[in-house]
Amino acid sequence: MSSVIRATDWREATVAAIAPETPRAATLTLDVPGWDGHRAGQHVDVRLTAEDGYRAQRSYSIASAPEDGRPMITVEELFDGEVSPWFVQVAAEGDMFEVRGPFGGWFVWDASETQPIMLIAGGSGLVPLMSMLRHRRNAGSQVPAKLLVSAREADDVLYARELETIGVDVVLTYTRRAPRDWTGYTRRVDRAMLQETAILGGRTYICGPTTFVETVADHLVALGEPPANIRTERFGGG
């Protein structure tokens, strides 16, 4: 590594591009001098500083695959959030903040892995899993993989169009409102749903709010999945 900047140092990030994903979420492409790449599933810390010196810090998962160049983060605006509204509503090309990272050595997946993978997302928990799926597609991997996404309604599903061609079976469940003519699941992820849809016996990645992650993990263990094969990442507020 030629850069003398450690991944742990704060460094400037500039918004190179911003694109809406859903009415409540946006993906930002970042220019980060000295960026040395990342692994699928990793996250960065971001830090915003106001003119009066006030600072706020959050963590966001990297949505882009490692081989896709500049890192991209997808941010979902949280009700009454302090930082996420800035990213989704205010941020524009050229804006600057600070990033630190990438971090994460556990909730990561490399295409060199051979086990089947089951990916389970609650809302914006899909972001790091998307990085894994994009990486899998880029690598031409044939590893069996499947994605289960729980979202409130169709408008909340990140990357909806890209998921149609991402190369894996995608199962959606809507917890608040389903599209007209929807014949799929319309409830929170439960044991029966997992039994019907999940690839078991490989490695499972679950990401989303804490309650979602723990409920799903408990169900999988009850279905006989060894806890050591379940990797979780819990998301907080913003």
Partner: protein, 199 residues
Amino acid sequence: MPVTRGFNRRRETTPGDRLPPGQYLERGFPVLSAGPTPETPLDEWTFRITGAVDAEREWTWEEFQALEKETPTVDIHCVTTWSKFDTTWEGVSVDTLLDGVEPLGGYVTAFSDGGYTTNLPLEDLTGGRAWVVYGFDGEALEPEHGGPARLLVPHLYFWKSAKWVRGLYFMESDDPGFWETLGYHDRGDPWLEQRYQGD
């Protein structure tokens, strides 16, 4: 360090002399915890006065409920900079709990379910300045806010108001508690901004 265009703190500081230095007024009631919410059944709950005292005391929940109640309305100040004005509580004054108790030490550690502790000088618990409360805003104190009962010492930073409190342990010398061993102040007066040791 770049300033981020268009980013501002969401909160507003209120001018006036009710807000200690460095604080802002919060409309909600943030729930921050160092661990999981304990769930002690009321029929197992006791409150104890123990340690360097002439005689230890203990009350069951029923006995505690029978003690003289007070309903203080106070401002509270968290060291993480949020403050709330005019919070209303119901509980027992520490003066009532210490009535007839002879302390043999000038320092106290409040101890809680889940292992949390906080230390403070005895004099900050007396003179009508501290309570063990089981009601907030006219209702039973919720577990996430420290129920069934928490310490309330509003003239000090709110980490001294130990949630899930189960007793007061008296000591002859000060012994830093959970946050104090990590650098927070042994007393914690928000008007003197005693946030960290040495402040």
